[in-house]
């Protein structure tokens, strides 16, 4: 991107559109000409989250909702991590009797389910909920009540899953819960139903967030932020949200089919009556593979932001990176079968999926090359966020290359469902997503809290996490090749896997401790850290234009964007738009491609109804593992809460 493509500000003059025979528009005070203090008073009164418990439960501020999401997801990360530690202790030696198979199976299922559905997807979406509106220069996410609703549904799904774990009825069928093991005959009790319904909760919530994110990026970008000026992180979230929209329905269909088979006796997966167990795997992995990219793509956006800030230049190959994001999004739907190479599919068909799996390595490779090119100008500023990016490249490239290995049909037959694959996907998911997320935490938490985290502790944290992670997961490649299958609660001593498993457990302990350190650093930073200021890293995107933490209205005046790195391009004074009302929640709706300001639309006011709706929907989901009639009985409260949600209350926001 060169700096020559500044949008002429003349293009931004809005074109008034003729209106119908409506009552004359009621009007209120505008921000034009107000001094900063008055403007702040007005906007704060209009946009704040009201005090008190009801006010807190009614909040629709994207930053408040995102903070809740982040904290909740972090809690689930810790719980999932504790599961992992328990499993590692059991596996630290052959024939250990600490944990029996019944508990062990629940542990690894809860670990997978928690990490995938309650940590990874929510946390990348939460980061997007927080950052995307700030980065595109708007005052709230699109459909803020839907956003609040999504959080309540998510947290109730999480509580549901963990309460069932506390009751010893957690799912014990693996995070992909293959039938027939999870089916009506071999999965007695409610354990598999808990899996199926927990999926429904979390998918409803992430679909809602995805739609809100897409519309925010399409319609709420600051004036002048045409497609070529959208930050890479926002592109990544946009593509991710599209992948969510097309992938998540697959798992909802899968879990619905499963629950129907279990509850009302349909035969969708029953081979004796014309069903097929493999159909489950096709449907699940049609979601399951894109899921990996739902977790990974936002991380690439974080990496681009961090690299750009510390290499002190725009990322090399902006267009190439955007195109590769889109390419990965598309291709991610074409490789689900590589999870099923051992099911005995026709050889030629399987080979096609080898080719498509290899193909996705090309756009991913392009991203890595562009980042390396960005960094190659000279020694970058080495701070903790960038260290985690280095850790990301180190580990993710290993994960990507072992991904190329498992994409090969014959090779996969030796490593499928062994610890090699466990190592592979942890390198991809932790290396590819958790390391960037940790970097992002050091990078953006000062924006959330207004205070810096300790750099020294950050470096300690990085090296502990890096060494612990590699020590825990690298040897798994080997133990997998030596024949150790995944999901075994014990193994015989004669196979000689004892020492290496002990070593892995030690690595896992170090990795776990690094998170203890991280938690301390976060809390310490949030309470005692040095003040961050608006833009501690001198980065170029819009979230750094406002205070840390940002006010409830994000920006006192909506920025006008002239460059992909607006803060670098406009160092003297940031161009802003005026003319918005300050007594109502007004934000700028712009056109999809060029981001020409088009409408001054009202954003929804706080409401308690999304919480009520979430309770009604959640109760219906919970009840429906016991009887199909729950859907009928639940429809009434859901309808009532939705009417309460959408019915106009006479606020200025509703009436125009």
């Amino acid at each position: 991107m060169s700096s020559s493509d500044l949008t002429s500000e003349r293009d931004l003059v809005p074109q008034a559109t003729p209106k119908g025979d409506l009552a004359p528009e009621r009007d209120g005070p505008r921000d034009t000409g107000l001094d900063d203090a008055t403007l702040h008073r007005w906007l704060e009164r209009t946009w704040r989250t009201k005090p008190g418990i009801i006010g807190a439960l009614s909040s629709v501020d994207h930053k408040v909702v995102a903070r809740r999401y982040l904290v909740t997801a972090f809690v689930f990360l810790c719980l999932g991590g504790l599961n992992a530690v328990a499993m590692r202790i059991q596996l630290s030696g052959p024939q250990r009797g600490l944990i029996g198979p019944d508990l062990y199976n629940q542990l690894f299922t809860m670990h997978g389910v928690t990490m995938m559905f309650l940590f990874a997807v929510p946390i990348v979406q939460a980061t997007g909920i927080y950052l995307v509106p700030l980065m595109v220069g708007t005052r709230n996410i699109a459909f803020p009540r839907l956003n609040a609703f999504s959080y309540w549904i998510y947290v109730s799904g999480g509580i549901f899953a963990w309460a069932s774990f506390a009751l010893s009825m957690a799912p014990d069928v693996g995070w992909f819960a293959y039938v027939p093991l999870s089916g009506p005959e071999f999965g007695p009790g409610k354990r598999a139903d808990v899996w199926a319904q927990m999926i429904t909760y979390t998918e409803v919530s992430s679909l809602a967030v995805a739609v809100a994110t897409i519309v925010t990026v399409f319609k709420q970008r600051a004036p002048g932020m045409s497609l070529d000026k959208i930050p890479l992180y926002v592109w990544a979230m946009l593509v991710t949200s599209f992948v969510v929209v097309f992938a998540m329905p697959a798992v909802m269909i899968t879990s619905t089919f499963l629950i129907l088979d279990r509850l009302v006796g349909t035969h969708i997966f029953n081979p004796a009556e014309g069903g097929d167990a493999l159909l489950f795997q096709h449907l699940f992995w049609f979601f399951g593979h894109p899921e990996v990219y739902i977790i990974f793509l936002p991380a690439t956006g974080m990496v681009s932001s961090i690299i750009s800030a510390f290499a002190r230049r725009p990322v090399f190959g902006h267009l190439g990176l955007v195109l590769s994001l889109i390419a990965v999004g598309f291709l991610s739907f074409g490789l689900w079968v590589h999870h099923m190479f051992a099911t005995g599919l026709p050889k030629l068909g399987a080979s096609f999926f080898t080719a498509s799996s290899m193909l996705i390595a090309i756009p991913n490779g392009l991203q890595i090359f562009c980042w390396l090119a960005t960094l190659s100008d000279g020694r970058p500023v080495i701070r903790t966020p960038l260290l985690f990016v280095f850790g990301f490249v180190f580990t993710f490239v290993i994960g990507g290359l072992t991904g190329v290995m498992v994409a090969s049909v014959p090779l996969d037959l030796q490593v499928h469902d062994t610890y090699f694959v466990v190592a592979h996907f942890h390198y991809v998911l932790i290396g590819g997503s958790v390391f960037p997320l940790l970097g992002a935490a050091y990078f953006w938490l000062p924006k959330l809290t207004g205070r810096m985290m300790s750099e020294r502790l950050g470096r300690w944290h990085f090296w502990m996490a890096f060494i612990g992670f590699n020590a825990a997961f690298f040897p798994m490649h080997l133990v997998g090749l030596w024949g150790m299958p995944r999901r075994v609660y014990t193994y015989p001593a004669e196979l000689g896997w004892g020492n290496i498993n002990l070593f892995i457990t030690a690595g896992a302990a170090v990795f776990f401790l690094s998170f203890v350190l991280f938690t301390f650093n976060m809390l310490h930073g949030a309470l005692r850290g040095a003040p961050a200021g608006n833009n501690p890293w001198d980065a170029g995107t819009l979230e750094w234009a406002t205070t840390s933490p940002p006010p409830s209205y994000n920006f006192a005046r909506i920025p006008v964007v002239t460059h992909a790195e607006p803060l670098w391009a406009e160092r003297e004074a940031l161009p802003v738009a005026t003319g918005l009302r300050v007594d109502a929640r007004e934000l700028v709706i712009s056109t999809v491609a060029e981001a020409r300001p088009d409408i001054r639309e009202k954003s929804a006011t706080p409401s308690i109804w999304p919480l009520f709706a979430a309770i009604a929907v959640g109760a219906t989901f919970l009840y429906s593992i016991f009887t199909p009639w729950a859907v009928v009985w639940g429809a009434l409260p859901i309808a009532i809460t939705l009417i309460g949600w959408f019915w106009p209350k006479g606020d200025p926001e509703d009436e125009e």
Binding site: I253, I599, K602
Partner: protein, 201 residues
């Protein structure tokens, strides 16, 4: 950071209809994900149909008449639906009210006939996988239909209150029209799949 005013937005309108409004895009997003769900359910049906040479597993053919009547009703409803859309664009309150009442009735009518569609499938959901898939497909679309009819009825009531005569509400009517089109469009492939693919074999 210092700021300089660069654009004055005070003359912008306060609502927009169709693709100009975020709600329209939100509606489109939900259509995309629901459409994906339908497509996958239909894909599951076809997957099973192609895996079993003796599909539909010896089951009697469904009686297509209730389904055909629903289809005709849905197609006919498109005409008033689009008239309603035009009135909403013109922000004409009375014709919009009448149009919504008509659309509510035209939504309830196929639901009534839908009640007779389930027995006309001539098979139960627990007889075999073919029966299961028919009930799943029909059930999915019925849920869809009930949701949108409920939505239309609430909107109709809303338009008769003092909140009705506002630009945003007319935008909502436009989105409701848009969604009904989707309800109709998603039915056609399901109709063909349920009633006509078993007749092919």
């Amino acid at each position: 950071m210092k700021q300089r005013p660069a654009a004055d937005l005070s003359a912008l309108p306060t609502y927009g209809i169709g693709p100009r409004s975020p709600t329209w895009w939100g509606t489109l997003g939900f259509m995309a994900l629901e459409g994906t769900g339908f497509a996958l359910a239909a894909g599951a049906y076809l997957y099973l149909a192609l895996s079993w040479p003796q599909w539909p597993l010896g089951a009697p053919r469904p009686n297509h008449w209730p389904g055909t009547i629903v289809t005709l009703l849905l197609i006919v409803s498109l005409v008033p639906n689009h008239m309603l859309n035009r009135y909403a664009e013109q922000c004409a309150i009375m014709p919009v009210r009448i149009g919504l009442v008509v659309m509510s009735l035209l939504g309830i009518a196929p639901l009534v006939v839908r009640w007779f569609e389930f027995p006309a499938l001539n098979i139960y959901w627990d007889t075999n996988a073919y029966g299961s898939m028919l009930w799943v497909l029909l059930g999915l679309h019925t849920t869809h239909l009930i949701t949108d009819v409920g939505d239309t009825i609430v909107l109709t009531v809303l338009m008769f209150t003092r909140h009705g005569n506002s630009g945003r509400r007319f935008g909502d009517v436009g989105d409701n029209v848009f969604y009904w089109d989707f309800v109709v469009a998603s039915w056609i492939p399901i109709y063909l799949l349920i009633y006509w693919t078993p007749r092919l074999g």
